[in-house]
Amino acid sequence: MEHGQYSDAYIRDILANVKTVAVVGASPKTIRPSYFLVKYLLSKGYDVVPVNPGHAGKEICGAMTYASLADIDRPIDMVDVFRGSAAVPGVVEECLKLDPLPKVIWTQLTVYNEEAAKLAESHGIKVVMDRCPKIEYGRLCGEIGWVGVASNVITSKKPKLQDGYQRFGLNSQ
């Protein structure tokens, strides 16, 4: 598929259907964007698996960290890549050795590798690049508007309230 532009429906379908998300390059430092992401996805009910060889065997936000994708003890629906663009081909190779294969490979803002994406797609894996799942989730559920960000979503449907005072979930549309 063409990368750079994704329909809201494509992103929503991915975020509404994946349950277990491995975050390659997750940091235990509480001010790092990857830490924000792990914490946010956990709060939305995802089973988040941090992957970071330097932190393996320890927890990030209560989630156990693994040294590599191969070490993870359960099937992974989505692999989110918090590494530079040059590291993406290696991550895709690791993904292709998993059984079952992940359904989605997602790379963070500024992380982009067209050839690696093509390779993953040739194995039936959906790819999203140069996006942040936290921003996309916040945009599609409406939460991101609370900080004045243009969601570019226009809808006459009520946001889906989750448990708690200020938590939205994804509507299925």
Binding site: S7, D8, A9, T30, I31, P33, Y35, F36, K39, Y40, S43, L109, C132, I135, G138, G142, E143, I144, G145, W146, V147, G148, V149, A150, S151, N152, V153, I154, T155, S156, K157, K158, P159, K160, L161, G164, Y165, Q166, R167, F168
Partner: protein, 427 residues
């Protein structure tokens, strides 16, 4: 909605205002509260640490205000907005985020008189030094750039001189110098001009004017164009350096292409405090829905009134970019193809005294210091908005003693012209 990009009117009515999540209220509720309950201490910590989206305290975020921010950001084609107490507060927020004491910025010499005051006085006391450039000569902006220059500031349509700025030429100069271009888009509104599409990096506006339309609520907004590389430029430590306010978080790295708006909120508004009232946000949001209906009428009426005045024997000149006689007509066709706005100036042959007479004799026009109302407004800048400037500064700003500024409303144009006719006859 389908993936096709919605049109301007649809955005003006819908952006930022899905039905209320708690009640289904279709109008945006007024969340008239100072503070918001936390689920638990962990969620509170996430909110204070900027790890989660959500509301803590209305000085920083509020759902009603946020709806307005999202709507204006979308109308301007930006990534995010920050609404504040006034247009002046918006400018303070922008420069606080960009400037350190001793830094310079370049501003067009044709600006709203209030901005000239703010830059010459209040900003100088912070050590932010304005350098003035010739609004009609883009090369003068380039010539004024030094090592200390952190930004260029212009109005898309200058108040009150009626100058249409060459946004693209000045954006190119800013880009070459690796500094952001800030455009005050108050006079045009995003209906007539979207400066980000012409290369601007930051847009500010007084929401008090055309966006609200009714003249009942103060407000201002900062819109992040999402198109400036703050980390790459390395000149803006609030955006590119670890921030002690947030344990060493780097704003641009964390918030990407809406980092500037976040910085203005969590480093600026949080500490400077010029928050917008949620009630004002609601009023402005409601007014905004009719912006695409009001602006064409404003422009049509203004053009007819300008043409009437141009033919009047007591009038020396009319400066309205919508008139073919205007030096700015070609520039208006390029940047304001849907109309040259509602505000313009004209000169009375009778000078200062005739100006004072005219504002005293009008009966439909309101003599006051605002623009962009549905009502027609008149002011004699030399005796009011520009009174605190020197005579030379007034002349440079297009506000000499003979100058009258009109903001043409959306009443019946025959009535607007009849009021001017009777007042000119008596002046």
């Amino acid at each position: 909605m389908s993936q096709k990009k919605p049109g301007f009117s649809t955005v003006a009515i819908h952006a930022g205002t899905a039905p209320d999540a708690a009640t289904g209220a279709r109008a945006m509720p007024i969340y008239q509260t100072t503070s918001f309950v936390f689920d638990d201490v962990d969620q509170a910590a996430s909110l204070f640490g900027l790890q989660a989206f959500g509301n803590i305290y209305t000085r920083i975020t509020n759902p009603t205000t946020a709806a307005l921010e999202e709507r204006i950001a979308t109308l301007e084609g930006g990534t995010a907005g920050l609404a504040v107490a006034s247009g002046h507060a918006a400018q303070l927020g922008v420069f606080h985020t960009l400037m350190q004491p001793g830094d310079e910025f370049i501003a067009a010499n044709k600006l709203y008189g209030g901005s000239i005051n703010q830059f010459n006085h209040a900003f100088k006391s912070f050590g932010w030094n304005v350098v003035w450039a010739d609004a009609e000569n883009p090369a003068s902006f380039e010539a004024a750039i030094t090592e200390k220059t952190k930004a260029i500031f212009i109005e898309s349509l200058a108040n009150p001189g009626g100058i249409v700025m060459d946004i693209e030429a000045i954006a190119a100069i800013a880009q070459k110098a690796n500094i952001p271009l800030i455009v005050d888009n108050t006079m045009a509104s995003p209906y007539l001009c979207r400066p980000i599409e012409h290369g601007a990096n930051i847009v500010v506006q007084s929401l008090t004017k055309f966006i609200g339309g009714h003249g009942n609520s103060m407000g201002g907004v900062i819109v992040d164009g999402g198109n400036f590389d703050w980390i790459g430029s390395g000149k803006y430590p609030l955006l590119s350096e670890p921030r002690p306010e947030y344990d060493g978080l780097v704003i641009h790295e964390t918030f990407g292409n809406f980092g500037f708006a976040i910085a203005c909120r969590v480093l600026g508004l949080r500490d400077l405090g010029a928050a917008l009232s949620p009630f004002n946000a609601f009023q402005i949001l409601t007014g905004c829905e009719t912006l695409p209906l009001r602006m064409p009428r404003h422009c049509e009426n203004a053009l007819q009134v300008a043409a009437y005045l141009e033919a009047h024997d007591k009038v020396a000149w009319v400066r309205y970019a919508g008139l073919e006689s205007s030096d700015n007509h070609a520039m208006a066709a390029r940047y304001l193809p849907k109309g040259a706005g509602a505000v313009f100036t004209f000169g009375l042959k009778g000078g200062y005294d005739a100006g004072v007479g005219l504002v005293s004799n009008v009966e439909l026009f309101s003599h006051l210091a605002n623009i962009g109302d549905t009502k027609s407004l008149i002011i004699h800048p030399a005796s009011t908005t520009h009174k605190q400037l020197t005579e030379e500064q007034r002349a440079t700003a297009g506000a000499g003693g003979d100058v009258i500024r009109l903001s043409i409303g959306i009443e019946d144009v025959e009535d607007i012209i009849a009021d001017l006719e009777q007042a000119l006859t008596r002046s």
